[in-house]
């Protein structure tokens, strides 16, 4: 049987791109890698001309609390991806020893500094310089007994989840939970 071969015209048409216009990034955890994932994404957005708003909640509040923000640690217990320099396994038992977590965390920060990744306070400075906005979660702030004065000067406001969702207007907006 003979069949007509039809050229699919739609595949040759140029697809119109619809770039992101706004991202809302939630950071709920306070380990170095959790906080930096959120910071890198927010900073990357403003660098691309995408509006970025960050919402810190629960242990993520450490990243915007003046006393804690530059002393973040990474967990050395229960992290199966944790390895020794050189790739040997890193037993959780070792991670429990005093000073190990601090040492590993210092090493991570050193590695990041080499890549020109700034400390947390400077990173917030970079994000807000680009027009990004930083918010603290009302509920978690109350829960931890914190106040506006405990937070970095870059924190714009303490807001509720409802106010956060209100910011998600516009049809090219994404909410990202790191």
């Amino acid at each position: 049987m003979e069949t007509d071969v039809q050229v699919n015209e739609t595949t040759s048409k140029k697809v119109e791109k619809k770039p992101l216009e706004k991202v809302l990034i939630i950071c709920a955890k306070g380990a170095i890698e959790d906080v930096y994932a959120a910071l890198v994404m927010a900073n990357g957005a403003v660098m691309e001309g995408i509006e970025a708003k960050m919402f810190f909640t629960f242990f993520g509040l450490d990243a915007i609390t003046k006393k804690q923000m530059n002393k973040l640690h990474t967990g050395t217990v229960g992290n199966p991806a944790m390895r020794m320099p050189g790739g040997l396994p890193f037993p959780s038992l070792l991670g429990m020893l005093p000073g190990v977590e601090a040492g590993v965390s210092a090493m991570m920060k050193k590695q990041m500094e080499k890549l020109d990744v700034p400390p947390v306070d400077e990173f917030l400075d970079m994000i807000t310089a680009g027009g990004g906005e930083i918010y603290a979660c009302r509920m978690a702030t109350d829960m931890f007994g914190l106040e506006m004065k405990d937070f970095s000067e870059h924190v714009k406001d303490i807001i509720t989840v409802g106010q956060f969702y209100e910011m998600a207007d516009g049809d090219r907006t994404q909410i990202i939970f790191t």
């Binding site: 900073n43 660098m47 691309e48 001309g49 020109d116 700034p118 400077e122 970079m126 310089a129 680009g130």
Partner: protein
């Protein structure tokens, strides 16, 4: 994209409009590309552009942070000079490749 004539000079551009050979660049080309981006270049802009080119030629990876510490302008100033994508736009106007850094 191939070869294009910008400001009377023939240059090689990639698909995203970046010069593929930074040595083809001159200040008139910069002005023409900047105009496309809606930017009128001032002396301050040129200071940034020359800084980026020097660092690129020295083989350094460029970041916003580095430019912010260059003494030419701070990060806020950089965003004001090149709105809506400071490092990307300044790199394109400076005739160097699109930045490959995440910060």
């Amino acid at each position: 994209m191939g070869q294009t004539v910008i400001a009377g000079a023939t240059v090689d551009l990639n698909d995203e409009g970046y010069l593929t050979d930074p040595s083809q660049w001159n200040e008139d080309i910069a002005k023409a590309i900047a105009k496309e981006e809606g930017i009128e270049l001032s002396d301050k802009h040129f200071e940034v552009l020359h800084y980026l080119r020097d660092k690129h030629n020295a083989g350094e990876q460029l970041t916003i942070r580095k430019v912010g510490k260059s003494g030419i302008t701070d990060i806020k100033g950089l965003y004001q000079l090149f709105p809506g994508g400071p490092l990307k736009k300044s790199s394109r106007i400076a005739g160097i490749p699109k930045p490959a850094s995440c910060v």
